[in-house]
Subunit: 99 residues, 2 copies
């Protein structure tokens, strides 16, 4: 099993807006082979941002990587740049293999 | 749903030993109310360490916090100090609420 997380430093006061963007997203992930589940996570608050993580669980690293090369992935990320003023810096990607 | 993660910077070369400590641990988590699942995650490698995360999923923040005040928690962490030379610095705790 494989977990892919993207860490977002969301500017204070923009949290509700950020959550709304994710809720209204149509990722078509449920049609992707090897996809298990997705959650948006709200984490600790720092002085100037709130940490959020996208958290997706996959059957394998291979399944995740195949998705990143797919048309569904391209579509799901087509508008990502439009919300960049909600963040302090770019998202930080971390991938984890279940031991 | 609530996810608690502890981030461990494991010294290069000690990864197998670290995994063994976790595998042989008897946490009794499955007896704890509100506990859903636990995984040990192996993450990205930096120059001088490999990132590991303990990753536990709970029905609620309240369930997790009740566990941290329990006898099971105390027992599960009784020997934590003995392995501290495997790490660069103390573990970093992060808690996440599923949105």
């Amino acid at each position: 099993m494989f977990i892919a997380m993207n860490r977002f430093q969301v500017v204070k006061g923009r949290e509700a807006e950020f959550e709304e963007v994710w809720k209204s997203r149509d990722s078509h992930l449920d049609q992707v082979e090897g996809f298990i589940e997705f959650h948006l996570l709200r984490g600790p608050e720092a002085d100037d941002y709130t940490l959020f993580c996208s958290h997706s669980v996959w059957a394998s690293k291979q399944a995740f990587e195949a998705w990143t090369r797919s048309e569904q992935f391209r579509k799901a990320h087509a508008n990502a740049g439009q919300t960049s003023d909600m963040y302090l810096g770019p998202p930080q990607f971390e991938a984890f293999q279940v031991v």
